[in-house]
């Protein structure tokens, strides 16, 4: 039974590094939010960028997508990209309502 993911370097060290980076990014998120460093729009952007970086680390390393073949990566990223595209539609519309009201 062939598996692309089974052939890569399986050193444990990289997973501890990824875990450490994920915890660090979480701490940054909490500090940004609790100290209210940005206005809500900027805060949303900052938190979403950090969350997308964290999810890329989880998908790439913990879920081993980094080691799958290109066809698998392209097919699986379709839903994620679709969700991100929806985010680009919904969130600006929600801000429009704040400024213009419901029409």
């Amino acid at each position: 039974m062939h598996t692309a993911a089974a052939t890569h370097d399986e050193g444990k060290g990289q997973y501890f590094w990824v875990w450490g980076v994920l915890l660090l990014l979480t701490a940054v998120e909490v500090v940004l939010a609790y100290r209210q460093v940005f206005q809500p729009l900027r805060m949303l952007e900052a938190l979403m960028i950090l969350s997308i970086i964290k999810s890329a680390l989880i998908i790439g390393y913990f879920m081993h997508l980094k080691y799958e073949i290109a066809a698998m990566k392209w097919v699986l990223m379709t839903a994620v990209v679709a969700c991100l595209c929806l985010m680009c539609i919904f969130f600006p519309d929600a801000f429009r309502i704040v400024h213009l009201g419901v029409r």
């Binding site: 062939h2 089974a6 875990w19 805060m43 969130f91």
Partner: protein
């Protein structure tokens, strides 16, 4: 399927997978794709309301944020122990595979307990799916919050049961039944989780049917697939935590 083909000398009839991996893994990824869209819809429902409504409640003070941060740490740590379980399974080290999965389950249970305490705290303050004590103009806060976080809590619960089945097989059944009985007995009947723990009983029935009808020794591939599900649950929380908790922080 491939074993049957080899037995009948028809191995060449089947083409190798387009995705270069085994079918069970592709099946789990496809399920996770559909679940991505389910959680995406719930996250958008909550976040749209949050952004478009200036009166949106901000009930999450220092205690809630600390609690949610510890919950995030539990899930991230559980992902690390899960990936170590997958590595141990690939090495053929059965003892450490089981041990790392048990650590993962413990982190998952800690997450559920902390989340249950958070829910209980909010409910005690008067929050329901239809109203909240902080902003009468925003009745949808409770509905979107409980639906989103409840769906995620259900996924974590299913994940813990799934890992228990993979690591302990039939030994897990009496343990699960005991956890349900203790939780049902300890949680007062006025608490919503007194009935919520019945999800464990439903999980017991499903796990028993699977283990009795198709008893098997779960291999490294099964551990890897269970890991995919668990990491996905962690992944979803990476969006729920900032969008729900950090965007509604009450600074005191």
């Amino acid at each position: 399927m491939s074993e049957v083909a080899v037995q009948h000398g028809m191995a060449d009839v089947y083409e190798p997978s387009l995705f270069g991996t085994y079918s069970k893994k592709i099946g789990m990824w496809l399920f996770l794709l559909s679940d991505t869209l389910t959680f995406g819809a719930l996250l958008f429902a909550y976040s749209y309301g949050r952004i478009s409504n200036p009166d949106w409640p901000t009930p999450f003070g220092k205690e809630s944020i600390t609690n949610a941060t510890i919950m995030t740490g539990c899930l991230l740590s559980s992902s690390l122990t899960m990936v170590l379980a997958v590595l141990a399974a690939r090495r053929g080290d059965r003892n450490w595979t089981r041990n790392w999965i048990l650590f993962t389950m413990l982190f998952g249970i800690a997450f559920i307990v902390l989340h249950g305490m958070e829910w209980t705290h909010l409910i005690d303050e008067g929050m329901t799916p239809f109203k909240n004590p902080w902003s009468a103009n925003v009745p949808q806060f409770g509905g979107t919050f409980f639906t989103l976080t409840g769906m995620h809590m259900l996924h974590v619960t299913i994940g813990v049961i799934y890992l228990g089945v993979v690591s302990l097989r039939k030994t897990f059944l009496p343990i699960l039944l005991a956890i349900w009985a203790v939780a049902w007995w300890l949680i007062p009947s006025s608490n919503v989780f007194h009935y919520g723990v019945d999800a464990l009983l439903a999980g017991f029935v499903v796990a028993a049917v699977i283990l009795i009808l198709k008893p098997k020794d779960y291999d490294a591939h099964d551990v890897e697939i269970a890991g995919l599900y668990w990491h996905f649950v962690d992944l979803v929380w990476m969006f729920i935590f900032p969008l729900v908790y950090l965007m509604s922080t009450r600074v005191t």
